[in-house]
Symmetry: D2
Subunit: 386 residues, 4 copies
């Protein structure tokens, strides 16, 4: 039997970080459809993020992307967040949107470009000092499009060298989260294509280096929860970028494409102690055709539901069936939790937290959507390129 | 034994259509890296395409994309092409870059948007009348990102209705080429995801409707040459969009990722009579990090090499081994052609055509690359969004 | 609002056909793990199938595989089934286990082998006459392993010819269900690799020819429910082979790998009228490491649950949100049904049918598992090769 | 410019290990098609392997599979090999064909089964002592079919424990090669699914533990040559299992499905020093429908051709283009080597080695195929299950 009070307690203390860029415009290479009311500055992104946290109660931090969220005074930004019940979270580096980065950044064949990229990463750590952020998240668009274009192995050497310099700069309590991605925007190779590559680099860097699992960054057929279990076993799981995908890095709402997979992932997280060991649970997605704030609220709720189901797994019964080699019995224990409708449980959790049991309805009633459309007129909307 | 004179004759009359948009800037959703010297108008694109044809001898036509290539006077554009040894080729419609098309175009739930989309397609036929183009190529970005977002079947009904109206408008000698694509920019469903869907619509439309095979638009593991053979058997292969991909619709140079696959495709084309039955051989690719004109020349050469190898297959020996159930023998006949270095043959073909045997070297020596960088200063460079 | 009485009525009349071969031993190319109590004859398979129907109430028919289920007297077999509350269902042909079929059956380069294969198919129709079966299900292991091994197009011609002969033999009320499969056991091409190929052949054969969708037979990333919707729209969906897969044709229990996908499929079935238009709902799976009868019961229940959720979708609300272009709202309507725990509803349905609400528990209590282990001693256990 | 004499020298000393099981019967889960003349014992397999080496000159060792190749006296077997110009190579363990292994071997939930599996592995090292083999190759069929079936992480603990015991038993000069595989025969998880998992275990075991790359064991879209380059950089590439695949672990002849990929792999091998650092180059494939000995000869030749092309890459020109960021130029250098017809070079190499330039023709003329059909009558043919 699962301990329902413990489940509720865990759900009340869950924290899902939302990404500042998800509040801005986004799209595909074919078209960015701008939406009315979209933030025009990091400050306005924080206003929106505060709404998500106000209605869900479990989204207390916001990830920044530099330079998209560049401001003059990061301490002021942190204070602005704090005044709205938020904290600034993970700092994400961006070394793929300058013309210099056409052939890569930290792995570029030209040392001058690598120097520039490392400089950017070091500045991100400076920003972390100012914002009080724990984690530097590194995703590199680096890679090659054509066989032979560059030396695959030399790029690894350059990567290792650059990472080492940045790692050495990390302060006390700061971590480096290294993200991997199978493909895109590089098409032939990416320089950190899989968890094994990220893990190998982290091992050499040291204890503060951890791997980030973005749920959209794997080849078809990859068992992501196996990777999660393995990284937890190795003590190297830094965090998640949640989103969902049907084919590639589709960046749809977490839990939208394969809710059973999200449940299996959260089960391995819970089983491996990942709910209480500093793993960062972040959303990383984009809302190209749907309104952004409600999509983010829905995504947070989807993560909550998957977590609730994972926590409801009768671990003792499961262990018993597994030990007995009872294939169907063990599977049935897991499915029993998955098949449970946990929405009533989460409504109860919210009410006990003093929240509306239905965050989406509460958001709709709040008038925020109409207000930002009315007030955010003029200026330049935030987007991936902003 | 293959008849070398016949092979040469076939290679001399081959025609690969280049796409106007490949001469402009392109990129991924993360970044478009602009290149110096890129055309700023359809006229300048034709200048570049004329260079490709001048050096390869087998790229006599250029595909247009409307509205990217909108001009006041299409007859003038056709004349401009003709003066440079070119003809205007396939007209490509674009119903995905207006804000109205956020949820689709010809399949949109709102009849007014569908009306607008069909109107655009009809105008494309008007343009074909003016340019003398044979083919209208239809690729729809239509689809849905989330399960339930729209009614999958109703969208098919709308698609059928819209296509029928456009089909009815086709003039004598004009054709409709319907393209399919598994995913992107729609992520959950696209409305024409596979050849079967395109084929089913073409059947109902009539003889002038044909299927286009874009080599980058399939799920992993799909045997594209089987589809080619099947469509030729059905009399419904309209043409190709050649490009290559490692993972998704990577749009790399044709033949760059899997030259053996391109050879197998061209073998089925040759075997099925597709070299002489009106099949359109088009490039559809983008050159995000490499210079565009040489990349297009190289792609044309790659198609030539695959075609040459396909023509070198000893068909009688192959048929004999196949009939005898000689698995290794039959495979060896095919591989024998593939393993042949056909570059000397193609050099000879070019010399017999009065061309430089090395198109890339000739292009480099021509000074065109330097000239367009020097001359095309100011103005707005062409790109996917232009 | 959905009409709960109508939902219950639909669930009570649902029928899932179980495959005779799932009751026998099966395995991978590496090993078949034999299980105690496995049937040694078609008669014993029917005994087991009768248990599945007795406890679920919705598995009234059993599919046969010829020659695995060859008996002297099919009328006697039908009577034996009837006495146990069953009917004989779809007849499945098998043209892949004779040495003659090394290079194919109906598509084999040698006319004598093709003749033999067609002869087998015609005998299957004879058996249908005797058993009263409606459907002949054709899956061909035909294909090639190596490029060039055989002529892809000629194999299509042979296929068409063979199918036509068999189609002509069909009696009144009989149908031909043509199954497609992307790969395996042929690795380079299969001769009916996708729904488009099956559909094209069915079109030419006539109204009695329909396409079968096996949920495990697609490339990664394929949207199966789109195919279902399309085939229903075309009036060509013959039936399903349900199973589930993580990577290839894994043949796991239906609903085990991606229950959300099964729900989406059943939603399109319901939306397209497929629950009441003669679509055959069959299981086609194998239980390599788990006990077979409970695995089949569980699979039937999984199909029931997916169907129940599909029927619970608030179609009016969904249509409204779709028409309004409300992406999140429409998705939420669908997800609301999916997130519902339908197990109480199905327990109620079973009780109203006079069944135990928990089929698996009832089966376990019945002692059947122990009885067959005790009684089925000696003889040769049924398996794929038997 | 490449040094042709050095290329020839490298090609003359290349060694490709052939697998004993490829000489026996094999098939899919649907059917094993037996072939006439197939060996009935390890001794006869060595006779066939000797023919492959005699005609190619580069296949001097044979891999054993235990228990498929169990004999009374391994020293006698080694001597038998030596008398035929061969050596016994890698010893492959087999812990998947006893009924005890239904739920795994070294990762099984039951300690007694794990004990048995480890015992088998230890006996394999005993055999290595007798045969003089350097490498123990470990591939585990272990995994689970259903979510929840067993504890993913506990299985890793068991795996680590078992591997450590076997590793401790290795003698001087002996190595452990750990193979990974994405799927099959386990369908939900395999216990060593990717190179990262194998690498993590090898790191902990010690210097004698290396990773084996089987070219058929990856998810679609995986860049295998990247893994090769990375493992060489880490000093952990133990060897290859060459074969080719279109979809899954198809086990077709090496180089048959994607010869360009094999070339890219061999290029990274050469570039990373893998030709001279103890990497084992093994075939691991099965010949289900084609005659076995010529298929193996052809595969060896395909590996030779890929190696020759890799060696012909103009490394200086490539490095220059890469350093200059010349995307097309660098790609062209690589493609120039790939497009070269290396068959004349390899014919010359063979003649300089005193061999027939055409191994397949020489084999055919030798009469061996007819002889084994005539002589190997009666007895039980070797196969995967034998």
């Amino acid at each position: 039997m699962t301990d329902l009070a413990a489940v509720k307690a865990a759900l009340k203390t869950q924290a899902v970080e939302t990404p500042s860029w998800a509040y801005g415009n986004s799209g595909t290479r074919f078209k960015v459809f701008a939406q009315a009311g979209v933030p025009r500055s990091p400050w306005e992104k924080l206003q929106d993020a505060a709404r998500v946290h106000a209605f869900t109660g479990v989204a207390p931090t916001v990830a920044l992307h530099i330079p998209w969220d560049t401001v003059e005074d990061y301490a002021a930004l942190a204070k602005y967040a704090e005044e709205r019940g938020l904290r600034l979270g993970t700092v994400n580096s961006n070394t793929f949107q300058d013309d210099d980065y056409r052939l890569g950044s930290i792995c570029h064949p030209d040392a001058a470009v690598r120097r520039k990229a490392v400089g950017h990463l070091l500045r991100c750590v400076d920003i972390m000092d100012a914002t009080g952020s724990r984690d530097l998240k590194l995703w590199f668009a680096d890679g090659t499009n054509y066989p032979g274009q560059d030396d695959v192995r030399a790029r690894q050497d350059r990567l290792a060298e650059g990472l080492a310099e940045v790692y050495a700069r990390l302060g006390h309590g700061q971590r480096m989260l290294l993200e991997y991605k199978l493909f895109e925007p590089a098409f032939y190779t990416t320089d950190v294509p899989d968890w094994g590559t990220a893990y190998a680099h982290c091992l050499k860097l040291g204890e503060k280096a951890r791997v980030v699992v973005d749920t959209g960054h794997h080849a078809p057929g990859t068992n992501i929860e196996f990777i999660v279990a393995t990284l937890l076993r190795e003590g190297r799981l830094g965090g998640f970028d949640f989103n969902s995908r049907f084919y590639a890095d589709d960046d749809l709402m977490a839990g939208a494409a394969d809710p059973f997979q999200l449940f299996r992932i959260m089960y391995e997280v819970a089983r491996g102690g990942g709910l209480t060991s500093g793993v960062a649970f972040m959303l990383d997605q984009c809302h190209n055709i749907e309104p952004k704030i409600p999509a983010i609220i829905r995504s947070v709720m989807n993560v909550q539901e998957a977590t609730a189901k994972a926590l409801l797994v009768d671990r003792a019964a499961l262990a018993g069936a597994q030990a007995a080699g009872d294939v169907l019995g063990a599977n049935a224990v897991l499915m029993d939790a998955y098949d449970t409708d946990v929405r009533p449980l989460l409504r109860a959790v919210r009410e006990e937290l003093g929240l509306d049991p239905d965050p989406l309805a509460a958001y709709r009633r709040s008038g925020w959507a109409e207000r930002i459309v009315a007030e955010r007129v003029g200026g330049e909307q935030a987007g991936w390129g902003a």
